[in-house]
Amino acid sequence: MNNGEILAVRGLNASYGEAKVLFDCDLDIQPGQVVTCVGRNGAGKTTLLKNIAGILKPTSGSITFNDRNLIGMMSYNIAKMGLKYIPQDKKVFSDLTVRENLELGSYATKDYNWDQVTDYFPRLKQLMDRKAGYLSGGERQMLMIGRALLGAPKVLLIDEPTEGLAPGIVEHLKNVFKELSKKTALVIVEQNLPLVCAISDKIYAMKEGRIVAEIKDGESIKAGICEQYL
């Protein structure tokens, strides 16, 4: 670092107990970029994101965010710094209303301006008083992304955002990601190839815990060259 990257991962190795799951992974992202990680199930995509977010501790390597080393930092401190993780399970705080879920995001970041959130996701406006447990999968994803947007994060790590969602909502999210990338860098783990091709500035293909390809060329991305890794 630093060639203008906001987030740089170098030689990252990680294990689950005795089982090594990430091998010398390198990843860079610059402000305003959309980077996607593709690969089959078990390739290590989610593990990579969890290591960056501080949920798992890597065995070696470095993760630098805004020139600060993240290794050893608690996940909540990493989130406070502006690097937020949105997990794939779409589990929101089900007993809290949409409003309360957003308030949690606001309280942590002291950002009480929800206009951006409701601009991206107007549907949330109508659901403010509904318990999050009663939302559909798409609405939950909107809430999770909207909540993470509070505090103007510098990087969003989004794990399989479109998994199990209706095509209409996937299309909506695609447009949101395009808009979002103007303000926030995005690292997205995704298996939806058309979406990946439409939004990515760079694609990392993963296989068996290794980054096996880095596709930066716009033509190659549009051509869906990464399909071979899925």
């Binding site: 608690m74 993780y85 809290l96 308030e103 309280y107 942590a108 970041t109």
Partner: protein
């Protein structure tokens, strides 16, 4: 102004009804309900909001009671200062043990608190018997002096004082429930990892909840001490460790008024029905089994939605009538 009234109306109605209990029942019964409710609300907050089940509440009750008792027996005579000592004692103990205890989860948390209750019991009964007078307890009823404004050494005025304290405690817990911190507590109970992703430190949230809840319990212990003018190790006896959990479940876990309803039912069975029916604890047992099988909501947890529905229907009717009149 309307919003302030709306915020307070539930609490005021609850305490109006609680005040009626004083009219229709003996003073000691009403006082016991008030103090027991304060005792239980801490447990209710921990269980309902943070997801901590604690079988060690009697430990914090005893800490509050003994802190007050030590002051009133050895050092001074003003019960108000005694109460402050009780709260302070509870605060100190919870701040000391909290950082270790809140790292634990579910059954371990329950058991470590139970262990604390056993430790406190033996400390008060055996180890510190020189100053606690062991089984005999500490008597200081006659040492307490009259206090200005409300003379809490007199039971009738103590009732008013306890009533006001309980009102303040409920307002405080309602504020907590409505606050973002209350939402944080519930969020840490639902999914602590997700809360971390938003930038929250779960440990701090749980520790603060632990300190608040158990200091409230110590306040209840302190009130017991002043009211009875006596404390004994029996209050942290392991046979009483499940009481607050039982009453919390009876009333309705995590509901604001559950502790009051639970305390009325529990104390009512203990004090009133036990005179008529033997083995009242058996009735509590059956009631608990029924509540669990009926959906774990407790008495208030079941009643609250029904009442809300009934009142909202009335609201709808009133709105309809209003609009009808406007139409004319």
């Amino acid at each position: 102004m309307m919003n302030v009234f709306r915020w307070w109306r539930g609490i005021l109605l609850a305490f109006f009804l609680l005040g009626l209990i004083r009219v229709f029942s003996p003073l000691p019964f009403a006082i016991e309900i008030l103090i027991f409710s304060i005792y239980v609300i801490g447990c209710n907050f921990l269980l309902g909001r943070v997801g901590f089940i604690s079988f060690g509440q009697p430990a914090y009750l005893a800490v509050g009671a003994y802190s007050t008792a030590f002051y009133l027996f050895y050092f001074g005579t003003n019960p108000y200062i005694g109460l402050l000592f009780g709260i302070l004692g509870g605060l100190v103990v919870t701040v000391l043990v909290g950082p270790f205890f809140v790292r634990l989860r579910s059954d371990y948390f329950a058991l470590v608190n139970l262990a604390l209750a056993v430790i406190v019991f033996y400390l008060m009964e055996k180890v510190l018997a020189g100053i606690t007078h062991g089984d005999n307890g500490l008597w200081f009823l006659t040492r307490m002096t009259s206090t200005p404004v409300l003379d809490i050494s007199k039971p009738s005025e103590f009732f008013i004082f306890a009533f006001l304290v309980a009102l303040a405690v409920w307002a405080f817990y309602k504020y907590l429930d409505d606050s973002v911190y209350g939402a944080c507590c519930l969020a840490t109970k639902i999914n602590e990892d997700k809360l971390k992703f938003l930038g929250y430190d779960n440990f701090s949230i749980r520790l603060l909840a632990f300190v608040i809840a158990n200091t409230t319990t110590a306040l209840a212990g302190s009130l017991y001490a002043v009211y009875f003018g006596f404390v004994s190790p029996e209050m942290s006896s392991h046979s009483r460790c499940a009481d607050p959990v039982v009453v919390t479940i009876l009333g309705g876990v995590g509901t604001l008024y559950g502790p009051i309803v639970g305390s009325i039912v529990y104390t009512g069975m203990k004090d009133l029905i036990s005179g008529v029916v033997g083995n009242w604890e058996l009735l509590i047992g059956f009631l608990l089994v029924f509540i669990m099988l009926a959906g774990e909501k407790g008495i208030w947890g079941t009643l609250e939605p029904l009442l809300k529905k009934a009142f909202s229907r009335k609201g709808v009717l009133a709105n309809l009538q209003d609009s009808g009149e406007k139409g004319r």
